[in-house]
């Protein structure tokens, strides 16, 4: 490849980004320096280049000064490369004649020394000006988008996203790991701050999912493999056998009654172990689908083969129960994937000095959600494990949140659900309630008002992180009680408060298998382990993998309103792609100069996408432009230097290096 036709006329544009850049980098001198570089015909600085007048500046110069190359020194290309490419395009220049210089994220924001920062910026601008001369005019390819969408995770986020998409006529595959959809929200009693019951607002949506003609619901299933790219993903889903045919089961639940186990005796996950279930069970009465599951771990027939199989008799003519059922794998094509895999509650055992798992009357918030729930194990009665009704209750905030030893982040929901539980427990028992908090965070709509309401309900609020929950009695009044030892930081005294019940407001953390899921879908995790969004503000539900979107707590702790909003946003992003019908690809594919190719086949093995075919008769390699993803590994590997890559030509990179290193 040779220098682009005609003479090179470069325009250099330095952005102040308000003071984000100009406060550290001497933008005036930088622009002045730009003007001195070879082939540069105009060099300007401007307050906000990304703004409309900023872009006009560039368009104008393209028209008046006949620019055919543009260097923009501003923020990261990940933020505004697209913006400026469009500016070039609308200015009548091929968008790929642009070269961006990152002097914000990778210079002004990370450097204190102004001279050093300006020196760095100069080097980078010089490098870009050299490189851009070698940029070429390129065209984008278009990939068609398969209209179907897969939603992974059947919590409120997944449900809402699925329904939104389905209602707009797109087909949705909703995959849920548990035997029922509903997620954590299904376990809650009431929701803050409005106190409307979770079931009343969730179950209608759940049945809507079940009955929707555009939704294929796969519960008790998990994604095992993801191939392909935006527009045409191929996804494999493993469906565990529930030993009951969903299509034949009417949900009469006779089989449950008929089970040879008269008493339920196995811990029930849905009730976080507070209740028992039989080997054949349904998670909760409103479960969707209304189909029981048989747990082979506990079912006599599976363990010994010597069961009367009363469940099968009970099912009778329907023959819905099939103990021979086997795990099967579905394979589908979808254009987009929405991840709504949620979060898990922090394991309170990790903080030994709060006594969870040691003292029976120390509960986690989720356990108490079940206790106060009318359809819970106690029918809504808040009673201790020994059947007593607590007269005093301590609610410990920030358990597994804001703690370097466990999780550093604030889990956002605990303050409010703690207030909610305080209200509900008081309502149910009239007990004396103490909240122990570091800070009360009530930024949501109607949240602060709810806090005020609680204060007026005479709930105690003690500002201080609980130092320990213990059973040692220093005073007769503490005999047979749990004692909270804490500094009341506002009163400035250390207090010992005896209570009957302790509720640990455990924080939210990434699902145990978030790491595997992340690899499966080839996306990134943030430092805490939650999935990383493409941009915290401008692309909050997108990921760095096109066509994969995030919704709900898998992206970070959030409450139901935020989750639903995000689910809607994710659905909208997917819809936008589907309705456009195609995505434009980055024209960075590699290509072979066949006359130079020696036919050594080194590259063929290099390509993970088998985009390189070997032409037997010509003894040459050829790269399938549609298949190539543009990593450039083959380019670097080619011994005869006959493979090139658009946007990342060797020459361009050499020029960049040269530019960086030629001292000026």
């Amino acid at each position: 490849m040779s220098k682009a036709n005609g003479d090179i006329r470069i325009g250099v544009y330095v952005c102040h980004c308000g003071t984000n850049i100009s406060a550290v980098v001497d933008v005036k001198s930088l622009a002045a320096y730009g003007a001195t570089l070879p082939n540069v015909v105009v060099s300007r600085e401007y307050k906000y280049l990304c703004s409309d007048p900023g872009q006009d500046l560039i368009r104008q110069d393209i028209a008046e000064r006949k620019l055919n190359r543009v260097v923009v020194a501003s923020c990261s290309p990940h933020l505004h490369e697209q913006t400026f490419r469009n500016a070039l395009a609308t200015g009548g220049l091929n968008p790929f004649f642009l070269q961006m210089v990152n002097i914000r994220e990778q210079d002004s924001w990370v450097t204190e020394d102004k001279q050093a920062a300006t020196r760095k910026a100069r080097d980078l601008v010089r490098a870009a000006a050299r490189r851009v001369a070698w940029n070429e005019s390129l065209e984008r390819d278009r990939i068609p988008i398969h209209p179907a969408v897969m939603v992974v995770g059947g919590g409120i986020a997944g449900i809402h996203a699925a329904l939104t998409l389905a209602n707009s006529g797109k087909h949705v595959y909703l995959v849920e790991r548990e035997p029922t959809i509903g997620g954590h929200m299904a376990q809650f009693d009431k929701t803050f701050p409005t106190l409307d019951c979770a079931a009343c607002i969730l179950t209608p949506k759940m049945s809507a999912v079940k009955s929707h003609k555009n939704i294929t619901l796969w519960t008790y299933s998990e994604v095992t493999q993801v191939d392909g790219y935006v527009g045409n993903f191929k996804v494999k889903v493993r469906r565990w056998p529930r030993y009951i045919k969903e299509d034949l089961c009417s949900g009469c639940l006779e089989c449950l009654k008929a089970c040879v186990y008269k008493e339920a005796k196995f811990p029930d996950d849905f009730n976080v172990g507070l209740a028992k279930r039989k080997p054949i069970y349904i998670s909760f009465p409103q479960a969707v689908p209304q189909v029981p599951v048989i747990d082979p771990e506990t079912c006599i027939q599976f363990k010994s083969g010597k069961c009367k199989k009363t469940c099968i008799d009970a099912c009778g003519e329907r023959h819905a129960i099939s103990l021979q059922m086997e795990e099967k794998t579905e394979e589908v094509e979808v254009g987009n994937i929405i991840l709504a895999t949620g979060s898990q509650p922090f394991d309170a055992r990790r903080i030994p000095y709060y006594g969870y798992g040691v003292y029976p009357n120390v509960y986690t918030a989720l356990e108490v959600e079940r206790l106060v729930n009318a359809s819970g194990p106690t029918g809504g009665e808040v009673v201790l494990r020994d059947g007593r009704t607590p007269k005093s209750v301590a609610i410990v905030h920030c358990v597994g949140s804001r703690d370097e030893g466990t999780n550093r982040w604030c889990s956002r929901v605990c303050c409010m659900y703690s207030l909610k539980l305080a209200h509900l427990i008081k309502e149910h028992t009239g007990a004396d309630i103490f909240n122990f908090y570091i800070d009360i965070r009530t930024p949501g709509k109607g949240f602060e008002e709810f806090y005020q309401k609680l204060l007026n309900e005479r709930v105690h609020f003690v500002r201080g992180r609980v130092a320990e929950v213990t059973d040692w009695a220093l005073d007769p009044s503490e005999e047979n009680k749990l004692v909270i030892r804490v500094e009341d930081t506002l009163a400035g005294i250390v207090r010992r408060i005896p209570v009957d019940m302790v509720v640990l407001s455990t924080g939210l953390e990434p699902q145990a298998d978030a790491e595997q899921v992340r690899r499966l879908f080839n996306i990134t995790c943030a430092s805490g382990g939650f999935f990383l969004e493409r941009h915290p503000k401008l692309a909050p539900v997108s990921t760095f993998t096109d066509g994969i979107f995030l919704a709900g707590c898998c992206q970070g702790p959030k409450d139901i309103p935020d989750t639903v909003a995000q689910a809607g946003a994710a659905a909208a992003e997917a819809l936008a792609l589907i309705d456009a019908g195609f995505v434009e690809t980055e024209p960075n594919a590699a290509y072979v100069m066949e006359e130079v190719c020696s036919g050594c086949k080194t590259c063929v093995a290099m390509c993970p996408f088998s985009a390189i075919e070997f032409l037997q008769e010509e003894r040459k390699a050829r790269i399938n432009q549609a298949k190539c993803k543009g990593c450039g590994t083959c380019v670097a590997a080619c011994p005869s230097g006959s493979i090139y890559q658009h946007l990342f030509e060797d020459q361009q990179i050499f020029e960049e290096i040269e530019g960086i290193l030629t001292n000026a």
Binding site: S76, P77, H78, N102, R104, E105, Q106, D107, W109, V110, T111, E112, D113, A116, A117, R119, K120, D123, L124, A127, R519, N522, T524, C525, A526, S527, L532, P536, F544, T545, N588, M606, P608, F609, K629, G630, C631, G632, T633, V635, A636, A637, Q645, F648, D650, I653, F654, E656, I657, E658, I660, L661, T662
Partner: protein, 142 residues
């Protein structure tokens, strides 16, 4: 050049992990040594040994290659290819009489803004200790 020698380090960062980490370091306002000059490539697998040799030939005091952690490559296995090449490259560079500390390959994920700081600072320190390089004559590397 200021009396205290300021090494210039050419960094090849992959677009999906290390370059994003460097951006994250910026958005988190993490301060680190201003001695790196980043060349963005789509994948660490794109880093042609010639780039590295060229950088040294043209007087770079150090070369830092940043890629995704093993198993995290946006292109599935580009970083492994990079690693394989790196091993050979390191030998070659050594034979050319360039100290090992001047060439470095690091896995830095998009979430590890802090790590960009530690890696860069550490490398700058080591290279500064080594002092400026007498640029190898082009013949040797071309």
């Amino acid at each position: 050049m200021p009396e205290s020698f300021e090494p210039k380090i050419v960094a090849f960062f992959c677009n999906w992990c290390t370059y994003l980490a460097a951006d994250l370091a910026g958005t988190s306002r993490i301060k680190y040594a201003p001695n790196t000059r980043v060349v963005r490539v789509m994948c660490s697998g794109r880093v042609d040994p010639q780039f590295v040799l060229d950088a040294f030939a043209k007087g770079a005091d150090g070369v830092l290659i940043g890629g995704c952690h093993p198993g995290d490559c946006h292109y599935q296995e580009g970083n492994y290819k990079a690693l394989r090449r790196f091993v050979l490259l390191k030998r070659l560079v050594k034979q050319m009489g360039i100290e090992e500390e001047r060439l470095r390959l690091e896995w830095i994920s998009a979430a590890e803004g802090e790590r960009v700081k530690t890696v860069v600072n550490d490398m700058v320190e080591k290279v500064r200790a080594l002092g400026p390089r007498v640029p190898a004559r082009r013949k040797e590397v071309a």
